[in-house]
């Protein structure tokens, strides 16, 4: 379809605000006499708190409050904080004992569909190094830091379980008393008859693959401030992807009614899933309550944020694949062990979601997925861009490459032979593949990297520097349907001049959603971009309900709500114009700030004339607004591929990426420049995942070794090659304007593509990432190459 604004690389709506520093982030806001909160983290990975003495800390001048699990303010009782918040609950559980889940999922009315509730605001049992034992509120940062050192805690150390193997061992201590065997869940799926499918196959090939713990490293660390307002409600301003969910979880953590909490989200400096979780807000609220509702700021340092927020789950995979001589896959069995760390957070959803999104790429007669998610005494793993798919696709796209090599099949042809076709209905989710251009993506990538010419050139290399090519495919989803609720809200108010305010529940987190939503409104209403004012700040008191930004759902799911809201405004404008002109509304359209005849395009009325009339007509005045909610009970499956060329230093073990292209089938691209930026970001994150990033811990004590940006090897721009982004645009019939998701997809396939390119260059298969120089050296040594 031909569009005017959709599909154009219009400038970000927040570009000027961000470049000039006018855009305000949480830390830019201040309340008068704001106090500072700080957390006392456990130095032990697994220990019981025997006693805490806070008297010295309390005595330090400038310290306003010290909190421990024993004395969390219990605002449910009138006596707890007189005059601030009245009693609203009467059960016997104290706030200290109240357990809550932190994952940023929509609430579920079905109890068995809710996240595991295993967290206290402050704990009496440390489950990882960094766990929250106590907290102080003081007049300034330095005083708070000094007070932390004065808190005396006596611990009883317990056996530390840093690996899933240790946690699964018979007789291992329980990290959570109610979780037998430290297994959070082992729910998987089976389609078809696996053993039969394997028996029918010419070959059954096995492989083992492993991924590491990495961290989001968003530029802005977790930061919030909280206070009690004149309406005696808790107000929290926070850097989050999910303001409405924060409201719910803070209320749950304090045992109060949800309406008692108001959450405001200003501009945010990145999240990548780590802010699809509720890490600091409950404690921040408790800190404010502990000082009579005065404002308290809680900001994590980088060192804290890297261990005491969330990480990416490390996985170990075992795969068996039954395949025929011609390359047709009959059956796949994937076993996975996922390390979720000390608390559930998103927990088993990560393993489930990875296994779910994987299913779309290569439909086979039989597929069995056996994941288990295991508690360990490591930092908590949660949501991170890709949500389980970078792990499973690293494993399987490495595995299929190994199969191709073993059976002497072309790695591209083997994939083409097995990838899904349009019309396929997933047997479990019942989602239908309504658009699929994976084959075209593969062809485009192959051409971009000059695959065939280079493949011929790099045959039989022997020198110290060798080059190779690799590729890998992926499938994803647009939102979470049918697993979770996909509700989105949008509201439009038309001003007297025909310009509009657009209010959204979906959060702009840097990905550019505000801009693409504005483009959609501009397109539907026939007004230029500058007449669409996006209210970027979410405030749970005002903002339409939407569960937030995650799951690559905004353009697709929230886009549906935006389109719906814009269409409703359009309908109202045309009806009003019709009432002014007696021309039937169905003959009218909106174009270039005017009401026009649909067929000829001839101008009928200026939009501003209709808008003015809607405000001030003595009889018919009714300003034009819309306020809609959309429940997307549908999904669209995006696909894509990475092609890359690497150079390996056979002596030092250094791997350099020479070229890398991501080709995406994400349906219609609303803003090509923003889409390209999304791909650049995802690919660069994936390069770190493949080559350098890994959070390291002392195996015995669970102490973090590199929770800072010097020792954690996040690639710099100097380590990032030029990244090629390309799109095969085929509109999906279900998406607004034909879109499918693009937020997370770019991170999924580069790591296995890089691994496969290294295999091509060196004949060495790396089944564990990151492939950092130390590991490459060890492997080369083992293979006799050094």
């Amino acid at each position: 379809m031909a569009y005017t604004v959709v599909g154009k690389s219009v400038r970000r709506v927040d570009a000027v605000a961000k470049v000039t520093g006018k855009a305000k982030y949480t830390d830019d806001f201040s309340e008068r006499n704001m106090l500072v909160g700080k957390i006392l983290h456990s130095p032990y990975a697994h220990a019981l708190v025997k006693s805490i003495d806070v008297s010295k800390a309390k005595a330090l001048p400038g310290v306003e409050a010290v909190l421990t699990y024993k004395d969390l303010p219990d605002i449910r009782y009138a006596t707890a904080i007189p005059g601030i918040i009245e009693a609203i609950a009467t059960d016997d559980v104290t706030v200290a004992e109240l357990k809550y889940g932190t994952a940023g999922h929509p609430y579920s009315l079905e109890e068995n569909h809710r996240d595991k509730e295993d967290r206290n605001i402050l704990t009496r049992k440390a489950r990882f190094v960094g766990d929250n034992i106590a907290a102080v509120v003081a007049v300034d940062d330095l005083t708070a830091s000094k007070a932390l050192k004065l808190i005396e805690v006596e611990y009883e150390e317990l056996e530390v379980l840093t690996s899933t193997d240790a946690a699964l061992k018979e007789g291992a201590p329980l990290i959570h008393d109610d979780c037998e065997g430290n297994i959070l869940s082992s729910h998987g799926y089976e389609i078809g008859n696996l053993e039969e499918a394997l028996q029918e196959s010419d070959h059954v090939i096995e492989g083992e693959y492993e991924t590491s713990i990495v961290q989001h490293c968003h530029l802005e660390n977790q930061v919030s401030h909280a206070y009690v307002d004149s309406d005696r409600r808790i107000v929290i301003m926070t850097s989050t992807q999910i303001p409405h969910i924060v409201r719910r979880i803070v209320a749950q953590s304090l045992g109060i009614s949800w309406g008692r909490v108001r959450v405001i989200k200003p501009y945010i400096g990145g999240g990548f899933g780590n802010k699809q979780d509720v890490c600091i807000e409950p404690l921040n609220a408790a800190m404010s309550l502990a000082v009579g509702g005065r404002p308290v700021r809680l900001e994590l340092s980088r060192e804290e944020a890297m261990i005491d927020t969330r990480t990416r789950h490390a996985f170990k995979f075992k795969i068996r694949t039954g395949i025929n001589n011609d390359g047709k896959i009959n059956g796949i069995h994937i076993s996975a062990v996922s390390n979720t760390g000390a608390y559930a957070s998103h927990g088993h959803s990560i393993a489930s979601s990875g296994g779910g999104k994987f299913r779309y790429l290569y439909p086979t007669k039989a597929l069995k997925y056996d994941p288990i998610t295991v508690y360990t005494n490591l930092p908590v793993a949660g949501a991170m861009r890709g949500y389980g798919t970078p792990q499973i696709f690293f494993a399987f796209e490495s595995h299929i490459e190994d199969i191709a090599k073993k059976l002497n099949l072309d790695p591209i042809e083997i994939r083409k032979k097995n990838v899904v076709k349009e019309g396929h209905v997933d047997p479990l989710s019942k989602n239908t593949i309504r658009s699929c251009s994976i084959r075209e993506c593969i062809d485009k990538g192959r051409e971009l990297i000059k695959w065939d010419a280079k493949k011929a050139l790099y045959k039989n290399q022997t020198g110290d520097i060798r080059r190779g090519l690799g590729m890998a495919c992926f499938s994803y989803a647009s939102g979470t349907y049918p697993v979770a609720l996909e509700l989105a809200g949008a509201r439009i108010v038309m001003n007297q001049d025909g310009s509009v305010q657009l209010q959204l529940g979906a959060t702009e987190i840097g990905q550019g959603s505000d801009t693409v939503f504005a483009q959609m409104v501009s397109e539907v209403l026939g007004i230029p971009m500058y007449m669409v004012h996006v209210i970027s700040t979410q405030d749970t008191d005002i903002t339409p309900f939407d569960t937030g930004s995650y799951a690559s759902r905004q353009t697709y799911v929230s886009g549906m709500a935006v389109e719906k809201a814009a269409l409703e405004v359009k309908k109202k404008v045309l009806a009003f114009a019709s009432s002014m002109t007696d021309i039937p509304a169905h003959l009218l359209d909106l174009k270039e700030q005017s009401v026009v005849f649909k067929d000829s395009g001839e101008k009928v009325l200026g939009l501003e004339v209709v808008a003015m009339q809607s405000y001030y007509d003595r009889v018919n005045a009714e300003p034009i607004t819309s306020d809609v909610s959309n429940n997307a009970r549908i999904n669209a499956i995006p696909f894509g591929v990475t092609f890359t060329e690497v150079e390996v230093d056979m002596k030092t073990g250094k791997i350099k990426i020479l070229e890398i292209y991501n080709v995406h089938d994400s349906g219609k691209i609303v803003n090509p420049l923003l889409a390209e930026g999304q791909v650049h970001g995802g690919v660069s994150m994936a390069i770190g995942y493949a080559l350098s990033e890994q959070l390291l811990f002392d195996e015995k004590t669970g102490k973090p070794l590199n929770n800072n940006l010097l020792d954690y090897k996040l690639p710099t721009i100097m380590d990032t090659p030029d990244i090629g982004a390309a799109f095969v645009e085929k509109e999906d019939p279900t998406g607004p304007f034909g879109v499918k998701s693009l937020g997370e997809p770019p991170i999924v396939s580069p790591a296995p593509a890089i691994r496969n390119a290294v295999l091509d260059a060196t004949e060495v298969a790396f089944n564990r990432i990151p492939m950092n120089p130390q590991r490459v050296f060890e492997k080369f040594k083992e293979k006799g190459l050094i």
Partner: protein, 293 residues
């Protein structure tokens, strides 16, 4: 917020040494890129700081009449990198300077601070070792000059006495004239990183043979070090891949690498052997020798 109890700044060296003599607890701060990190990490509490940032005379980089290169201790890494004298005469130092941190860090971090911080990973150290740098230290009672090899005592420990300030880094003409060199920083990243190994070599070539070779290594032991056995071996040897291979092997003998989570001893030693040869190969060509294949 930093835990700073007191802050003094001097405008001349004599003012600084006087302040230091009065209060031996003063911690000298130059660019601050190490001191502030220590404060952030809680290793330095209730700090009383003496800043040298206003002493402009210490930023000078000069060539003395006798050919001695004199680098003021407060010269930043950016100044070192952009200085034409250093670029012409001792490019292994400017290469080392540009390998350090990122632009913001290089604009504020000083060469004197880098040396006095005493880290084996100091980006300037392997080059300064290979160049036989001399350090001028001044105090209220006078001055002394110490060869850099005697200055590094252990991790974070340098031979600076209470009351002393490092004012100059000096390189004598006989230590650089006629030499060509090469510097390799081997790190996990191309910027903003600590070296896994720093290799600086200088050599003098005469008729296809090494007249002299000096090899400085960073992160190959608790302090930066020189590979004296390899250097001794190289003297007068015909330049060939065999000679380089032997130099690489002997260089490892001078190291005291250890295994840490950053890299294993075995890998570090392998890098010493490999990168010493690579650095020398490039240096030989710069020194007018034939390419070693």
């Amino acid at each position: 917020m930093y835990d700073i109890k007191g802050y003094y700044d001097a405008e001349t060296v004599s003012e600084a040494t006087a302040l230091l003599a009065e209060n031996p607890n003063l911690k000298i701060i130059a660019g601050g890129t190490d001191v502030l990190i220590k404060m952030h990490g809680g290793q330095l509490e209730d700090a009383e700081l003496l800043s040298l940032r206003k002493i402009k005379s210490l930023e000078k980089i000069d060539l003395a009449d006798d050919g001695t290169i004199v680098i003021g201790a407060m010269a930043t890494f950016s100044m070192v990198f952009h200085n034409t004298i250093l670029k012409d005469l001792i490019p292994i130092l400017t290469e080392a300077a540009i390998s350090m941190g990122g632009p913001q860090i290089r604009n504020i971090a000083t060469i004197g601070g880098n040396v006095c911080n005493g880290a084996t990973s100091a980006d300037s150290a392997s080059s300064l070792f290979a160049l036989n740098a001399q350090l001028k230290l001044e105090s209220k009672n006078g001055e002394r000059v110490v060869p850099i090899r005697e200055f590094y005592l252990g991790p974070g420990k340098v031979a600076i006495n209470p009351g002393e300030i490092l004012t100059e880094v000096r390189i004598a003409p006989e230590d650089y004239k006629g030499f060509a060199g090469h510097y390799i920083k081997f790190a996990m990243r191309e910027a903003m990183d600590i070296a896994t190994l720093g290799v600086a070599v200088v050599c003098k070539v005469q008729g296809g043979s090494f007249e002299e070779v000096r090899i400085g290594l960073g992160v190959a032991g608790p302090t930066p070090l020189r590979c004296l056995e390899a250097e001794e071996y190289a003297k007068g040897k015909k330049i060939s891949s065999d000679t380089l291979a032997e130099i690489g092997k002997l260089a490892v003998k001078s190291t005291k690498a250890r295994t840490s989570w950053r890299a294993s001893k075995e890998y570090r030693e392998h890098l010493v052997e490999e990168l010493t040869q690579r650095a020398l190969k490039t240096a030989v060509v710069s020194a007018g020798g034939a390419e070693v294949v």
